[in-house]
């Protein structure tokens, strides 16, 4: 009888403990001026909830209560750094992980020309794609240029011929607003010897089968070897016919870009 009583107490205690922890913390608020930066980015993390702490990582590991505790704004100065954050406290379940990728400026860009975007999403002038502004989830932000067409061409001219290895393009993914990654990205470079554009790298993408919340998707395309060039031609191929399970089914998908970096 006594054993049964102890088991009963243990079980009910456990249930109460679970009950006590039945609420999950929300993710923290990340404050920064842009995910793109020239020398260094400063990130402030806010979470005004009594009894909760903020934990984060910058090395790609998933954050836990054993990760670094946030105490003061974080300085980021590497090329591509993903900040991952959770909140946790003894009387709550930990929050889901929130993450943002910060992107350092690449080789200096002289100018860029792109296919005419949709009239509603024209961006913020000729510097839009290399002004270090963006990473904003709101598709109406002027940091984005938006397209609803098959093929988009972007010609990037560097300030001088440089050794080039990678190209980064920041896309918006917002399924509910029919905004997707392209099906295919192709990057060609201008070969000064042959006087022709030649293939540098390409990558194709498949749709996720689950409709997720809007997010910025910085896509890094890295070539197998370095080349030297001062011009790159980027071609983006959108989704012509959205599948039936998506909002906007059978319509043309949108592509939104806010920044291009060349490394």
């Amino acid at each position: 009888m006594r054993t049964l009583l102890i088991i009963f107490i243990a079980l009910v205690s456990c249930q109460i403990c679970l009950g006590q922890k039945s609420v999950q913390l929300a993710p923290a608020l990340l404050k920064y001026s842009s995910v793109f930066f020239k020398d260094a980015a400063k990130v402030e993390i806010k979470f005004a909830q009594e009894g909760a702490n903020i934990y984060y990582t910058l090395d790609g590991q998933l954050p836990t209560e054993k990760s670094t505790t946030y105490k003061k704004p974080i300085k980021i100065n590497k090329n591509l750094t993903t900040l991952q954050v959770i909140t946790s406290g003894p009387t709550f379940f930990p929050s889901e992980i929130i993450s943002t990728t910060f992107i350092k400026d690449g080789l200096p860009i002289l100018s860029e020309q792109h296919s005419a975007p949709n009239e509603k999403y024209q961006g913020n002038g000729p510097l839009t794609l290399f002004d270090n502004e963006g990473g904003i989830l709101n598709m109406k932000s002027p940091s984005w240029i938006g397209y609803q067409q098959d093929t988009i061409e972007i010609l990037v001219e560097l300030k001088s011929s440089k050794k080039v290895n990678s190209v980064l393009i920041d896309f918006l993914q917002d399924y509910k607003n029919w905004v997707f990654l392209p099906q295919l990205i192709r990057v060609d470079y201008f070969n000064a010897d042959t006087k022709k554009f030649e293939s540098l790298v390409e990558n194709s993408f498949e749709l996720n089968k689950t409709i997720s919340a809007p997010e910025c998707k910085p896509i890094m395309l890295t070539a197998l070897s370095n080349i030297v060039t001062n011009q790159l031609k980027i071609k983006l191929y959108g989704i012509k016919n959205l599948p039936d399970w998506l909002p906007g089914k059978r319509r043309h998908g949108w592509i939104f870009i806010d920044e291009i970096k060349v490394y």
């Binding site: 006590q20 609420v23 929300a26 806010k46 979470f47 005004a48 909830q49 989830l137």
Partner: protein, 342 residues
């Protein structure tokens, strides 16, 4: 039988003793800040989901008999009437598939309701038990609309003289003013870039806290703000609520209460909470949200801190200062009740 009962009691006593020191968090959590703190009861509604389901719980009001009235877009029972203890008293309504806005007005001693229906593109005035008194179709008198589908009313507010203000929050964002009989008087707001314009004019109320100077408070949800207008539609000022997708303003006593559907930074992520502002429009408490902070008289961006709510869509404050929260797209949950902690 007696022995079992004794064991249960003693074991609960032991648990209380054992668990309290290490788990100070109470079973019914305490939410909020300053003098506006509440205990949350998620099981307030005693309705049976098999017979009286809800879909989106859009809005709630209390009538002069003290009953709590819920509007849902579930056509099995668009209107569910509860007592304050959560007992379902009665239901009515099967013809409001887009039931969204619910406003109660005491018309010469008689309660009447105004329902905004998104799908029907109409505002319907009814008696408290559902008899239709007046239907307002799309406001072509304004010269701004050519067909009903352009008009998606989300909320009404009734002035002391009976004038009806309709917020076309999912349509063209105009506020349309009618007299008590439903005759068009005026319209204002609408989309645009000036301060007087609105973006998702989701809610509206008449602020009569200063009885000599009543005015309108209108939600501009995508701008994360309330905007004040005179009763004839002249813009007064903006009350910024950074980060917060505020729904309609609800005034009770000296305070303004509003459901926050979600936050800017976590859209589509069940990031809602409830915000409470004092008479000077200072945020004093966020239920499930961040402690309000002002720097140089400017409100810091607000955000959810714990997932007590998913997408709160409206609040109702009863005559005993209890607060009820109706939620949109939140797993068809019934409303929650929060009791003030003094």
């Amino acid at each position: 039988m007696q022995r079992k009962s004794f064991i249960r009691n003693s074991s609960l006593g032991a648990i209380g003793f054992l668990s309290q020191p290490s788990f100070p968090f109470p079973e019914d959590p305490l939410l909020g800040h300053n003098n506006k703190r509440y205990r949350l009861d998620t099981k307030w509604s005693k309705a049976d989901v098999a017979t009286n389901p809800v879909n989106d719980c859009h809005e709630m009001v209390q009538d002069s008999k003290g009953r709590i009235i819920l509007l849902t877009n579930e056509v099995k029972n668009n209107v569910i009437i509860y007592d304050k203890a959560g007992k379902l008293l009665t239901t009515w309504g099967h013809e409001y598939p887009g039931a969204h806005g619910l406003t109660l007005f005491n018309e010469n001693g008689t309660d009447v309701l105004f329902i905004c229906d998104n799908s029907r593109h109409q505002v319907i005035k009814t008696t408290i038990d559902g008899t239709v008194l007046l239907v307002l179709d799309y406001p072509k008198e304004t010269g701004q609309y050519t067909k009903a589908s352009e008009y998606v009313p989300t909320e009404t507010a009734i002035a002391p003289n009976g004038d009806i203000y309709v917020a076309d929050g999912y349509g063209k964002d105009f506020i349309i003013q009618y007299d008590a009989k439903g005759r068009y008087i005026n319209h204002f707001g609408g989309k645009g870039t000036e301060a007087k314009h609105l973006s998702n004019a989701h809610g509206i109320c008449v602020d009569q806290r200063d009885p000599l100077h009543p005015y309108l408070i209108v939600t501009s949800r995508l701008q994360n703000a309330f905007k004040r207008f005179t009763l004839n539609g002249v813009y007064i000022d903006t009350i910024p609520l950074p980060g917060a997708w505020v729904c309609r303003p609800v005034i009770k006593g000296d305070y303004l209460y509003a459901a926050v559907l979600q936050t800017n930074t976590l859209q589509g992520k069940q990031s809602g909470f409830v915000t409470i502002l004092d008479k000077k429009f200072t945020v004093v408490s966020n239920l499930g949200g961040s402690q309000p902070q002002y720097v140089d008289h400017k409100l810091d961006e607000m955000y959810q801190t714990a997932k007590y709510f998913q997408y709160p869509h409206d609040v109702c404050i009863d005559d005993e200062e209890n607060l009820y929260v109706a939620q949109w797209n939140s797993g068809k949950v019934y409303p929650y009740k929060l009791s003030p902690v003094i």
